[in-house]
Amino acid sequence: MTSTVDERLGGPVRKPPRKPKPAPTARGFSPLRALGMAVVWLFTALNVLVLYWLVMAAFKSPIEIFTKPFALPSYWIERGQAFRNLAYAWNNAGFGRAFVITVVLVAVSSVAIVLLAAPAAYALTRLGVRGANGLTNFVAIGMGIPFQTVVIPLFIGMAELDLTNNLFGLFLIYVALSLPFTVFLLTGFFRSLPDELEEAAAIDGASPARTFFTIMLPLARGGLITALILNAIGLWNETLLSIVFLNENANFTLARALFAFNSAASYQSEYGGLVAGVAIVVLPMLVLYVLLARRIITGLTLGAGK
């Protein structure tokens, strides 16, 4: 025992291989693998290309956009007005106010969704509620209904309640329509938590509410954050409902403002400004996603074990 240790210490420094050898099963050429790789790379390349085009076009003049779609921008830069399109979009589309409204609306809605969905998911998976399985499936059905199909009845109903052209009304709709998916996502998380912790908490004398708040919620934090981010991204980009339910500039969300700006800008052939407007709406979520991608992916697959 000791002699091996001495040898190792005194002997030449051993260098590990630069790339660990793969398992025998993974070696060799497989057509399926090659095809898969090709598809993945193609998809990635296409997305990167679109993104590149979007970012570049936001700095170009309309002529550049149409004649040299993949070249680097030059027209505005040469004139010392590199950010002219972004400024144009920001000033003319009413993005300033829309940005604040969207941030607040998305944040409040996402938090409200998770606050409602988490206890619901907890009760469905953990409290042994009678008929919990059926109820979970019932909630899941909500995911299967495309919200586009209920827009009209929804509008009529909201109009009755005087909640159209009203941010609070939109908030209610966002929360209601996002609950099925979020509850379903969170049931997966809560189900994957070990039973014994709850039993330990019960023996320690914690009430179900206390167990939920001090034991289960902290443990499901990863899932809650995932749910929060997915909802935030979805609501940030949501356009159809905001078009249907909002018709006053003062209430516009970013997506809604962009839609209004779209007609105005294309009428004036302000394509540079239009693309810049799109970039302003899209990029914050892209940054958020890049920063949190790892977290989201672990979150989405976490319930899949066990």
Binding site: P194, E196, L197, E199, A200, A201, A202, I203, D204, G205, A206, R210, I215, P218, L219
Partner: protein
């Protein structure tokens, strides 16, 4: 501290007509260390969980002291439990884990901290109080789970195989630590294990369960010396007792040519002609071939202090767990010169013979 008593306690699981625990009658004295032991699926955990209030009771009652706790929720029972996987709260430090109950019980912070520190000191966890469970070794986690139980000074400790996740050496160490800690604290303890060595070394008394039925509850010596039936005889002791089928002829039982005398009371208690003769490995006298039961050495197991010979014979044997009957085990002094293939004769030492009714499995009166 309190007594615990089960009276006719029965538990059914949904979709299973056979109860997991069937009419359990068991009295545990104040401060006693009672071990529940039995093969996998015999209902040990179910019994413990009924006592803890984690499982409903379908029939009978459970009392802790004078209180009927049958329908009380866990927090009103004043019990602490150590789980097999410890069930430590992963997002809390060791100190918070140990003090969680006290916090819920609204104990003042200063007193809580001193209680936690006291428990930690008792278990050698003082240096780890600020760590999260994920950064502890298996043995340390086990001690945190113990700490969480002892800090409460409850009326009863429930422990469900708390050592099964430890390696063999640590298990032996921790076994003695838990036993001595329990004696020091004097808290009534129900301890579940499927390891009969653990059961025999730790318990004041050991209750053997099989298929939800209590087979026998006695001191380790009583269990080892006077197993109440074939199951207990085969389950307790390692290597297991050799159970050999014999037939009654006249005043004795006949086993492969050897006669084992039966008392009149034993003969009266028999329900058929078939009798099972039980002899532990240490209960054999090794004689020259031709004397006693003829046997051939198949395997020699040298342990240094002892040697076990596994011998084939022409006797027919009973297997308690339903598997193929094992060869007859014989203990010889360590370093004996026995070789594989050698022939010998086996004679049971007088007084080391256990007799059972083959049909009912019950022990015959001595």
């Amino acid at each position: 501290m309190a007594t615990v008593s089960f009276a006719g306690t029965t538990r059914y699981y949904a979709g299973n007509p056979v109860p997991a625990v069937d009419g359990l009658d068991l009295e545990v004295a104040d401060g006693e260390f009672l071990v529940l032991v039995g093969p996998s699926g015999c209902g040990k955990s179910t019994t413990l969980r009924m006592l803890a209030g984690l499982e409903g009771v379908d029939g009978g009652t459970i009392h802790i002291g004078e209180r009927d706790v049958t329908d009380l929720p866990p927090k009103e029972r004043d019990i602490a439990m150590v789980f097999q996987n410890y069930a430590l709260y992963p997002h809390m430090t060791v100190g918070e884990n140990i003090g969680f109950h006290l916090k819920i019980a609204k104990m003042a912070k200063s007193e809580r901290e001193s209680r936690v520190r006291e428990a930690a000191a008792l278990l050698g966890l003082t240096d780890y109080l600020d760590r999260k469970p994920a950064k502890l070794s298996g043995g340390q986690r086990q001690r945190v789970a113990m700490g969480r139980a002892i800090v409460r000074s409850p009326q009863v400790f429930c422990m469900d195989e708390p050592l099964s996740n430890l390696d063999a050496k640590l298990r032996v160490q921790t076994r003695t630590q838990i036993a001595s800690l329990q004696r020091r604290l004097g808290v009534t303890t129900i301890y579940v294990t499927h390891d009969q060595v653990e059961a025999m070394t730790m318990g004041d008394r050991v209750a053997v369960l099989k298929d939800g039925l209590l087979q026998q509850c006695d001191t380790p010596i009583g269990l080892f010396g006077k197993p109440a039936n074939l199951f207990v005889a085969g389950f307790i002791g390692s290597p297991a007792m050799n159970l050999i089928v014999g037939t009654v002829s006249g005043e004795s039982a006949e086993v492969d040519g050897s006669a084992i005398p039966l008392t009149p009371a034993q003969r009266a208690a028999l329900t058929s002609e078939a009798v099972v003769v039980g002899v532990r490995p240490e209960g054999w006298e090794i004689k020259a071939p031709g004397d006693g039961i003829p046997a051939t050495v198949e395997v020699v197991e040298e342990l240094g202090s002892d040697q076990y010979l596994y011998c084939s014979t022409s006797t027919s044997r009973v297997s308690v767990d339903g598997g193929a009957p094992e060869p007859i085990a014989v203990r010889a002094p360590g370093m004996s010169p026995w070789q594989r293939g050698e022939k010998l004769g086996l004679v049971p030492v007088p007084g080391a013979v256990h007799l059972f009714d083959a049909a009912t499995g019950a022990r015959l009166p001595d």
